[in-house]
Subunit: 418 residues, 2 copies
């Protein structure tokens, strides 16, 4: 078979396996997850060897890249624990979302079912192979994985280990339900993205370029996670201690992630007091500040923000600051420059908070709390496959439920339509 035929066959086999997995019991799925965790631990030294080979082939890459690619014993243990945690989570499949009885006696139930087959395309972190496989398995979905070429040996071995464990632990879940594309050729991704008969949805995990390229080329719906340009608005009626704490947290706790803040908006009335103190606090933590003209009147030493700054996801210790005249101005700024991921207001004024919450249409809107909480674990989902900036299907943090759809089950006693 050609490589293209291989990819098509793999996707078709995943599709064919989907009904069996969709019908698998919670017990069987959990048994498979725990067996997978155990096997990862047992075969830790093999995994380390495969990873060393991948690392050797990536010599010369930058430090951050090498770090993402590296599987330490701790990270292998974390993958195993992750699978066990997924086993502990409630099974979303079969959950009755709602049910009602019609005047003609028909009993209608909206019941959660798996999406079917999920395609995951990701970059160099090999732990995604186990995480994504575990989340798809628990939610009853077959999965077609395509990992970064640099982690090829590691990913293949993780998939082998999990596939073996799955096959030994249960007879109800076909091994084909956990598929990995075993070629580093980029053409395989293009082929995968054409298999709309076999794959129901593509979830890319990686940088914006990867996601744009996939969206451009996919015949399959893509759940996107584009930029995270998050704003913190400090209102006239803000508790400034709280604003300072949340501002520091939003920018510095982990600047390289999507829910860190990029723009700080400060109401004119509190600018003279708040700007100097937040600037001192952030600069002490190594943050570079950029400001509008009005901001620079209060903070003359910082550089001027350009138009491009307001729409940039720095993913770094840089923050742009703008003075605004009102909550409505803050909302307008957010609509213009934000990416709809997460925005926060700090205020003691309930009606101002309500106005902000109603007008800001982001996946999560925070009142007196850090945008860094826009996260599946922090929301209590127990897991996260990603954060969606789509408006269709799932929005914001995606856990197990967001990997499902529903069907209607209608029970009658012979009703016909007149």
């Amino acid at each position: 078979m050609s490589q293209e035929e291989d990819v098509i066959a793999l996707c078709r086999a995943a599709r064919a396996s989907a009904p069996a997995l969709a019908g698998a019991s919670t017990d069987d799925k959990n048994t498979a997850l725990r067996a997978g965790a155990e096997a990862l631990r047992r075969r830790q030294s093999e995994l380390s060897s495969a990873n060393v080979a991948d690392l050797a082939a990536s010599e010369g890459e930058n430090k951050a890249f090498i770090d993402r690619l590296t599987l330490t014993p701790e990270r292998i243990e974390a993958m195993a624990t992750g699978l066990e945690q997924i086993a502990e989570l409630p099974d979303p499949v079969g959950e009755s979302i709602s049910s009602w009885t019609r005047p003609n006696g028909l009993e209608i139930a909206q019941v959660r079912v798996p999406l079917g087959v999920i395609g995951i395309i990701y970059e160099s972190r090999p732990n995604v192979t186990a995480d994504a496989a575990g989340l798809c398995l628990k939610s009853g979905n077959a999965v077609v994985l395509r990992g970064g070429r640099e982690a090829f040996r590691t990913n293949c071995l993780i998939a082998d280990i999990l596939g073996d464990a799955l096959g030994q632990a249960t007879t109800t879940i076909p091994r084909e339900a956990l598929a990995l594309i075993r070629t580093t050729d980029r053409a395989a991704v293009r082929t995968m993205l054409q298999q709309s008969e076999s794959i129901d949805v593509i979830i890319p995990r990686g940088g914006e370029d990867l996601i744009r390229a996939i969206t451009e080329n996919s015949k399959i719906p893509v759940i996107q996670h584009f930029a995270g340009i998050c704003q913190l608005y400090v209102d006239r009626d803000a508790d400034l201690d709280l604003a300072e704490r949340i501002g520091i947290n939003g920018k510095t706790q982990r600047p390289g992630v999507c829910n860190a803040i990029e723009n700080l908006l400060v109401h004119r009335d509190v600018a003279p007091t708040f700007l100097p103190r937040i600037a001192t606090a952030l600069e002490a933590r190594g943050v570079e500040l950029r400001g509008c003209d009005e901001t620079r009147r209060h903070l003359p030493t910082i550089v001027a923000a350009t138009d491009a700054d307001w729409g940039t996801e720095y993913l770094d210790k840089i923050l742009s600051i703008r003075v605004v005249d009102s909550v409505d101005d803050a909302v307008t700024f957010i609509r213009t420059h934000g990416s709809g991921l997460a925005d926060a207001i700090i205020t003691k004024n309930t009606s101002t908070a309500d106005r902000f919450v109603a007008a800001v249409d982001s996946s999560a809107v925070f009142v007196n709390a850090s945008t860094r909480f826009n996260d599946g674990f922090e929301f209590g989902f127990g897991a996260e496959i990603g954060i969606s900036t789509n408006r269709l299907h799932a929005r914001g943090p995606m856990g197990l439920r967001e990997l499902t759809t529903y069907k209607y089950v209608v029970r009658g006693t012979g009703q016909i339509r007149e």
Copy 2:
């Protein structure tokens, strides 16, 4: 401006209007809907004249086409009543889908919000203009409508009437939120389908060819409604009176719609008794029967079904019949040939029913009831924009709720992430 620029400007204006409509009160939306209904009634004679002009330009088209295009006074009244009924429905916007408190005290609410801007592309029925506009308005969505060219004059006037009424009834809903593409040039559809920055989702209403063409060309997600190949399975333990009644209803009550049945599956054990009686009943109602070899042993006068028959949506008084050995065989047939829209089982055996319900993954699965109930009105939604055969976002009948997404509103007291 060129036509292309016109379309782009129209879509952008709809996008710009979306926040105002999303924030409009339920009262304002209902006032606008009722004003629209009143205006349609008041300007009935103008509407009839515009429609007569469209009809004159369509001379020579077939009878069914002309019927769909014709606006009688009764149909104008039905459009008006439809808008009033939409005004009576609960407003989905702002509904709390779920809410919970985290151990750190964060209060999280999942709140329903409009999708944003919806594009509706439809064929010759002019009443869709008013129906779709009404459903989008009530669900807080701006809408860009593109109707069939044959109904161009009628559609333009309906949009004018509704737009005028909207503008007079309320100041909170911008007129741009109800946009109609005012050219019959097909290139305008291609332009519309590229406006992914302005339109969040495309809902086509029409035949399979239209939907496929749109899906092929769209940069915007499309909610599809492909073929409706629905099955009725009469189990060994069926109440045969009930099976006969539901079989007749499924095939003959309205054969041209998607939730009518195309294939009848009959368990071998009841075939000798059931087949002759259902055949007599259906043939008396003008239905042409086609059968597998086994079926034709019991019904020697009917023609043989070809392989193509099992996968054909007749939309007509034709039914293919197959004898099966078990409920599992019926499920396999449905997985192979069905389109995942609606399937039914007739049985008195609860465990057989449960087996069927668990294994058949269609948007609606019926037990002892007609597939014809797969419909937003019959489900009690009070309205229907279409029936989705997608698995993402919305599945099955789509009412107002299915035109919404959600955002998370998180209220804290200064929480930061550690």
